[in-house]
Symmetry: C2
Subunit: 205 residues, 2 copies
Amino acid sequence: MPDRRSQILDAAAALIAEHGFTSTSVDDVIKGAKLSGKSHFYHYFKSKDELGYEVLNRQFERFSERGLAVLREPMIDPLERLNLFIDSVVALQAESGGRRGSPFGNLAAELADAHEGFRVRIEAVFERWASQIRSLLWEARPQLQDDVDAVRLSRFIIAALEGAVLMTRVKRDMAMLEGIAFDLKRFIAMHGRDALVVPVVRTSE
Amino acid sequence: MPDRRSQILDAAAALIAEHGFTSTSVDDVIKGAKLSGKSHFYHYFKSKDELGYEVLNRQFERFSERGLAVLREPMIDPLERLNLFIDSVVALQAESGGRRGSPFGNLAAELADAHEGFRVRIEAVFERWASQIRSLLWEARPQLQDDVDAVRLSRFIIAALEGAVLMTRVKRDMAMLEGIAFDLKRFIAMHGRDALVVPVVRTSE
DNA sequence: TGCTTTTAGGACCATACGGTCCTAATTTAG
DNA sequence: CTAAATTAGGACCGTATGGTCCTAAAAGCA
């Protein structure tokens, strides 16, 4: 695995995070990675799509190491870890001044309809993400109410975070994300055993 | 306001909902609206962007009439209206088998970073949407706990729905959206006066 | 030394796109 | 009837894009 590959992947990741996949041309990547030309690029990747796939994989690995890692910290209370994780998502978004977000949500929204290859890969990413949250919820079982649906709750957490990141990108205002993160933490806390009353849902059916 | 304009806008809206704005070419719109050629199109719209802006406006007006309308029904209990609204979003997504979603979220994700003109218009759309939910929450004040933050809650609702729609598009599974909608309703219900205990938030700060 | 991989750089291509321009037929309104 | 608006249709243009092909200089390795 040559070093140049990483260089290309890094440059591509930065460009894609900034402008999206479609708006990032191969020539842009070549400039960003300071390659000599097209042939140089195609010496390492057989197509732009392949590049995109590898960038996506890489993003998830980084996210798993840096963001998701806290979910597995054995010395911290599980529900506390979940709060820390939510904070880390907020912090990540803050780094770009609210402009970027989870790279998965961006790609998902951009390509889910148009590009099946990406869609399935992004689906897998979300599944792996959800699975880690499910593990944590399983671990936190003793502190949670008996009827907590880990699958449903894990999906809700991810959806709320992705939606929050999207809204924040549109509004360019970190307060948006912070407020939603706050509410999300409250919602999770309400699944604890110490939350005595879970109000009845008013369904319209 | 000629009839042909509407025809073009309808065709464009359908195509954009299906493939996104960038992936919808002017020629596609021309075919979809059965125009004779480019000049015919540019007789009605001065650019593709202008077309996009008008489609966005139209989508919001429709959404306001069809989706948001229930929020203003004076004969129904406010919080019940909110649940009905959430159901309507689920139903809307179900119509396309989970493939499409709120057209705003799609456009937002696709263009918020790349196209400032769209970004500000989408921001306005979300603001108007949030404002309608805030009004409803204000109306529901007597039934809500005193410390409910209407601004924060309205944003949370929209973010959760947009995130849910996004995840559903990726997963192509309506169960995703239904589960999140269920949890969202529960979260709203927990702001009611009848919800006796609001658990303490575990913040990590 | 030789052979392979990497770097360099340019020419080229088919396709697609947004947009302009021009001419002429057809329809609509006053 | 006449002028204006609409419909029709095609030629064009500049630009960008993903991708291929080819040649040749360096670098790394046996």
